[in-house]
Symmetry: C2
DNA sequence: ACAAGATTATTTATCATATAAATTTAGCAC
DNA sequence: GTGCTAAATTTATATGATAAATAATCTTGT
């Protein structure tokens, strides 16, 4: 990858503004700046700023009107399923709740994807799934990255289910798992989930058993959900203990 | 709605180009035009064209590089879950296959949404769901639009499940159902599905029974899927009969 | 003939400036 | 105060120029 898209000034500004917006940097007290102010802030021309704002508009984050200026759209209009938006959202610190909601989403479509894969995956899809499982085995031996191989496994199944919408979710799984692992404090070398549980999914798909594939996948995600819930609870408890220590110090 | 966003020249061009792209108007033989050509084609300034292209880039449809020009991204990179992109895609004639894939997607998350709603919806959510069901009853009597009330029903449940990602899918449901109804040749006044089957979902949610809610919702979508599959088969048969009549005429 | 390096050409990226359009706000007559 | 007019503000559009990236072409030496 030579000229990463992020090098263009426009894209740098898009990502910077995008992060600021989802972080809630702008509100009624601090409204979104007018074009001229943004130009000053970034030292860029109006063309660049307008193009950046238009990209964020296309993702549902902004809206502009003559004389009224540009403002943040209500959060329900953001395209959460846009890979950029999702990444900016999950990058916010302390967003375990959003991760829970995303995992609830995975709980809906990944078991279904496994079931569809069991019904109609092609030989090459099986090859890819088996290759991903092998990567996980290698990771367990320390010869591969556990996180990347786990992601590759889930992606291989989304690819195998022969549905373009499911395939779309690859980027989001990638983003969410990487953030998730950061939140749940997993470290390199620590297996994320057992090979055995993952293999159950593969076996069911190869046996052309949709029900079993679905159930095995569901078990994997429930496991992930429990890790997230746990760290969310830890987070809350930490906050509470800080709160009480402040209280007791008064 | 006073100044619909579509009135700006930029947005008109975005939608026009977006439709042309998903229709496959551009390919290796007919590559995407350079900026200057697009300006001529639309009689617009470079600023406007560049902003439109940037919006389509944000939706994953295009990519640009100096000297290399602008080109269509491979379809797997398109943000299918962007409401605009989905609409452009479904508007293409003869895209029952895409509708099938979308309905497979609904089959994953709508039953789950109903189950979540059963677990944790608030009193006002129940109110909204019941109101939507009432609209469907009125539609059956000819006092409301059957399609709109059906959509309102599904949306009310997505709103009730307390998950932002599920709520995101509202726009897509709206688009897909409207296109679906066009494809399956339903007419105004013809009920899309029975009130009784829809009421089963509501009853299960109000009884706080996630399993039953999920199953009742699944039944609704399976019904919709069968209608689509049927019209897809009709389409294929029609095409085949045209093909054979051409053949027999030779 | 051919490889290496320099030159040219093409296209997007960025900047700058000006005018138009939309719409709120302020001013003013009554 | 009410209703009309004028001014002010902000985005939308147009135009033209320069910079940057890189493919294509043209030297030049062997």
């Amino acid at each position: 990858m030579q000229n990463h898209s992020g090098r263009n000034l426009t894209y740098v500004i898009v990502h910077d503004l995008g992060r600021a917006i989802v972080k809630g940097h702008y509100d009624q007290h601090n409204p979104f700046p007018i074009e001229a102010a943004l130009c000053t802030q970034y030292g860029a021309s109006r063309s660049v700023l307008r193009e950046a704002v238009k990209m964020l508009t296309a993702k549902g984050l902004l809206r502009a009107r003559p004389r009224q200026g540009t403002w943040i759209e209500p959060e329900e209009n953001w395209n959460l399923l846009d890979p950029d938006v999702l990444q900016w959202l999950l990058e916010r610190k302390y967003s375990p709740q959003l991760l829970v909601e995303f995992t609830e989403m995975r709980l809906a479509f990944e078991p279904m994807a496994a079931a569809l894969a069991a019904q109609r995956c092609q030989p090459e899809d099986i090859q890819n799934i088996l290759a991903a499982l092998d990567r996980m085995r290698e990771a367990e031996k320390g010869n591969d990255d556990p996180l990347s191989s786990d992601i590759a496994f889930h992606v291989s199944i989304l690819n195998a289910c022969g549905n373009r919408f499911y395939a779309q979710l690859k980027g989001m799984i990638n983003t969410a798992l990487r953030i998730s692992i950061r939140l749940t404090n997993q470290r390199k070398g620590v297996p994320l989930a057992s090979i055995r549980d993952h293999k159950k999914v593969v076996d069911a798909i190869m046996a052309r058993d949709p029900e079993a594939a679905s159930e095995a996948m569901r078990a994997l995600i429930v496991e992930a959900m429990m890790l997230i819930q746990q760290s969310k609870a830890d987070e809350l408890q930490k906050a509470a203990s800080i709160g009480s220590s402040i209280k007791s110090a008064q």
